[in-house]
Amino acid sequence: MASGENVIQSILATDVGSTTTKAILIEKRGDEYRLITRGEMPTTVEVPWENVMIGVRKSIRRVEELLQRRILDQSGKIIRPKQGDSGVDYYVSTSSAGGGLQMMVAGLVREISASSANRAALGAGAVVLDVIAVDDGRSASEQITRITELRPDIILLSGGVDGGSVTYIAAMTETLIQANPQPRFGGTYKLPLVFAGNRDAQDMVLAIAGNELDIHICENLRPRHDVENLGPAREAIHDLFMNHVMAQAPGYGELMKWVDVTIMPTPGAVGRIISVMAEQYHANIIGVDIGGATTDVFSSFEGIFTRTVSANLGMSYSITNVLEEAGFDNILRWVPFGVDEERISDWIANKMVRPTTIPQTLKHLMLEQALAREALRLSFAHHKSLARKVEKEVISAGWRTQQQMFKSAGVEIIEMVKLDMLVGSGGVLSHAPRREQAAMMLLDAFLPEGITQLAVDSIFMMPHLGVLSTTHPDIAAEVFDKDCLVRLGTAIAPVGKGKDGQPVGHMKLEIPGRPVIDHAITYGELRRFELGVGQKARVTITPKPQFDLGEGKGKAITADVEGGLVGVILDARGRPFEMPTDSRARVKKLTEWIETLNVYPLEYVRLYQEEHRVRDVEGEKGGRQGGLMSKLFKR
């Protein structure tokens, strides 16, 4: 590919999402590669179309329409290479339509090989249907019954350290065979199984299951207790995804012929670009991609990449599930006016049955963003519980042995105070009419602590750049930095609890060429300091003894912060964050925050507050956990 790199002038990339298909055009202008334009159209995997290519062509036609130039020829094929002003040189695509990739994972020890295998599958962009392990609390017969019920696209089997015992792997493979698992898309092909376990067991797995399953051997993902090697298994899954899963979906055959690089699952591509970024910036990064059906959270903490997917939290197909899992109280706590639960639930349910619609009024935008906050919050909680790292195992005698062994199951790695950058992606964040809205959603859902940079994917092009980075990392990195990442600014959030109005500390903000800003931080406030894109400032904060900004309680911190479209946001609302329980106080606070950060046009907010008054009897809001069902069927 290196030889062709010099001649590439124009790159077309598409992402076939579950809701929309997005096409972008990248071109060389002068010495640099830049994003030229972008077209978006509904995905056409469903009836009446049942062919993804219609959506792909329509999105490309949209690009043509915007640029007034031709990319597709008369027969609807891409003109390649670029001829004069028409056509492109290179075409890549990602996809998450067709329900994505669904996998079943099996391992030996739930906390060791099975959890590593789970991470490998998630990292490859899969939805994990179930994790089967010898010690998962189920008897062999229950496992057989369960495996029979599942209809995965691929099975990942792992277990055992290299050179270890093979007995249990044999038993697990037999359990799989006895269950006779069937692939999701009918029985025209053998169900693929990726074996990434003890290398001494490879022949045995082939011998036991070779006739029934399509076995693919790759390197052990846990060659030693203290070593995790997820890369090869992830690659093997990507290859199988293309050859087995995508090939079954309507229209993909044609798309596969079009592309210059194999189609990647969208989450896999986003994960790739996040890892590349973390490496480039030497930073701890959390990325989130909130889609129509699922929400993916990616983190790269101290060089360890983790991806989790919340399969049933999303903004269209799964939106009613957000309502059910979070409950009305948690969602409505973010809405600055009173709402009629019946009407709101109908609106949400209609969004589910008509997933491609978009909010037209500000009222519905505020509601959608309230739901997004909860979907993000729940997904992140899920991610935190799964993001673990394998620690070096120290074998020692006596009572400590058990303690050390426990560590081989991994320790949680996400520490919010150590987070350097939070990147949001997905329609609701990328397409938020004001960038302040995206910043608020990220702040409210993730509750960053200490000093954290906030950014969003400008127009949702991380998947495109992720797949492009597999062959042209330089172009991908250049476009990513210049056109993809929109820096919102930096959030500063002291950790600690206090009372409203109580002093939290003192902040000094030095912006080159401007007078120094001295600010006494009070508890409960949210403030914004202008600091433009590309500008840097030095901030010094001296917290009171019960507050912490990452250096320890009461310890002063000095840091260089980056500006952005929103600027520097001082979030002294307390960590852990609590919303006022009284409805009126809550609405007052929300309005205050909306005003400070200029989140929504205030005249509309006031209008809706007049129209939908907060009821006095609403009682407690916020805090309470628990789903909608528990509220409805309360005794």
């Binding site: 579950s18 995905t43 219609i54 062999a140 017969s141 045995m204 309502l323 019946e342 049955v353």
Partner: protein, 451 residues
């Protein structure tokens, strides 16, 4: 979203509807090619539902090496065995003679493994059996009210015969008391007043019926059949409940009429009732109480569906709910009139036998609920399903499917090339639509559907 059965001559069009009726696992096909079938005709069944698999660590129980297991077997794969029947005997003479392995249950030997030394025995369930209750609290020597906290298995979980389901006390066997289940099944109830545990045995034969009246045109070996019939097919937007069938009964005169409780009378039991616009909460409860097989209407309230049907709709995948009445919404949620042409088509089908299915899957590979009215003797011309043209152009009739003009219909008067700002502040591709009321409004392109 709604596939509309309009036609120039009549109110509905007849097309050839093909339904694949398949078992989840290989079984027996009962129908033959060319057979005329009714909705309830059973076309395929699994003679015996695969029961619970018992995995026996045979080599360990016999005290032999795993690789010797085959040599010790008295039965082979596929053999049917009875409880207490000796299925394997060790070759070695031990201190107390040779060890025997008895079958713990009736069933079929499915697998014998020399690698792991295990035998898989599939317990069979041939017929429906009544639930069994036993005094678990007595066996556990505890007070009934304490029973739930000692239970190891909870309601809804599958249990095998002689499995320990409750345990009192910790530590070694000497200090603890256990209770075992007398039969295999699913725990249906743990009663903390009487101390009884009920084990249900809902192991029915799995059968597949024809679902609609028609002709068997194809046999899928060991799996099922394809049933075909000339029929009118209408798709809704969202449904809840399983496949069912019954005569259609239209209860309202207009597409915008709300379906209220007083319209649903006792004599509608077993019928599929059709409303126009919204169904009130009371009316839905009444339809359930009366025993209507199905309800087809424009819209309903989301919270009410959850409450009165007791279902979870979170991820938008339905069709497996155990409710007596299948509900099909033609338009979605909130207050909205049914599409006039769809309503007229349904009205014209009043009194005819229909097969309906509430199954909905909104995610990719979408399944929408359907109403099929077969005309087995239809001789006229059959319509070919038309693919909808996806481009929105000036002059097209559209309906707005999101607030603030939700449900309004009109004609597209312009399709601006440039994106425009809407109230939210977002710049999106838009359409100008002249509403039926005469007003011209601007709406985002994704918020309309071709009418």
């Amino acid at each position: 979203m709604v596939s509309c059965p309009s036609s120039s001559n009549g109110r509905y069009v007849v097309e050839m509807v093909k339904k694949v009726r398949k078992l989840p696992l290989p079984g027996e096909v009962l129908a033959a090619k060319g057979d005329q079938v009714e909705p309830d005709t059973i076309v395929a069944r699994i003679a015996l539902r695969p029961g619970i698999p018992w995995v026996l660590p045979a080599a360990r129980l016999l005290g032999i090496e795993p690789e010797l297991l085959s040599k010790c077997m008295l039965k082979k794969i596929g053999d049917r065995v009875k409880t207490k029947e000796v299925i394997a005997r060790s070759t070695e003479q031990g201190l107390y003679g040779r060890k025997d392995l008895e079958a713990p249950t009736d069933g079929i030997i499915e697998d014998i493994s020399d690698r792991s030394g295990r035998i898989v025995l599939r317990e069979e369930f041939g017929r429906e059996e009544p639930p069994i209750s036993f005094d678990c609290a007595f066996e556990l020597k505890c007070k009934p009210k304490d029973l739930p906290k000692y239970m190891l298995r909870t309601v809804g979980q599958e249990v095998k015969r002689t499995q320990i389901i409750a345990k009192k006390g910790e530590g070694a066997a000497f200090f603890s008391v256990t209770a075992r289940t007398p039969v295999s099944g699913v725990i249906a109830e743990v009663n903390d007043t009487t101390g009884y545990v009920t084990i249900a045995r809902p192991f029915k034969q799995v059968t597949v019926n024809a679902y609609m009246r028609g002709t068997v045109t194809e046999i899928i070996p060991h799996r099922g059949v394809v049933v075909e019939a000339p029929a009118v097919r209408v798709n809704g937007v969202f449904g809840v409940g399983r496949e069912t069938h019954g005569p259609l009964k239209v209860l309202v005169d207009r597409a915008d009429e709300v379906l209220t409780k007083d319209l649903i009378t006792e004599d509608l039991e077993g019928k599929i009732i059709i409303g126009g616009a919204f169904i009130t909460n009371d009316a839905l409860a009444q339809a359930l109480a009366v025993g209507c097989r199905g309800v087809i209407t424009g819209t309903a309230n989301y919270l009410n569906i959850i409450r009165s049907l007791g279902v979870k709709l979170g991820v938008g995948i339905t069709g497996q709910e155990d409710i007596g009445t299948t509900l099909i919404l033609m338009e979605g949620f909130g207050h909205l009139a049914m599409h006039e042409e769809v309503f007229q088509a349904l009205k014209a089908l009043d009194g005819l036998e229909a097969s309906i299915n509430g199954a909905t899957q909104i995610r990719a590979g979408a399944i929408r609920p359907e109403i099929i009215v077969p005309f087995p003797g239809y001789q006229g011309e059959l319509a070919t399903p038309q693919k909808i043209d996806e481009e929105i152009t000036v002059g097209l009739r559209v309906r707005i499917i999101n607030e603030p003009y939700f449900g309004a219909t009109g004609t597209v008067v312009s399709v601006p090339r440039e994106a425009q700002a809407v109230e939210t502040g977002a710049r999106v591709p838009v359409l100008e639509v002249k509403l039926a009321s005469g007003e011209t409004v601007v709406v985002p392109r994704p918020n309309v559907e071709v009418f």
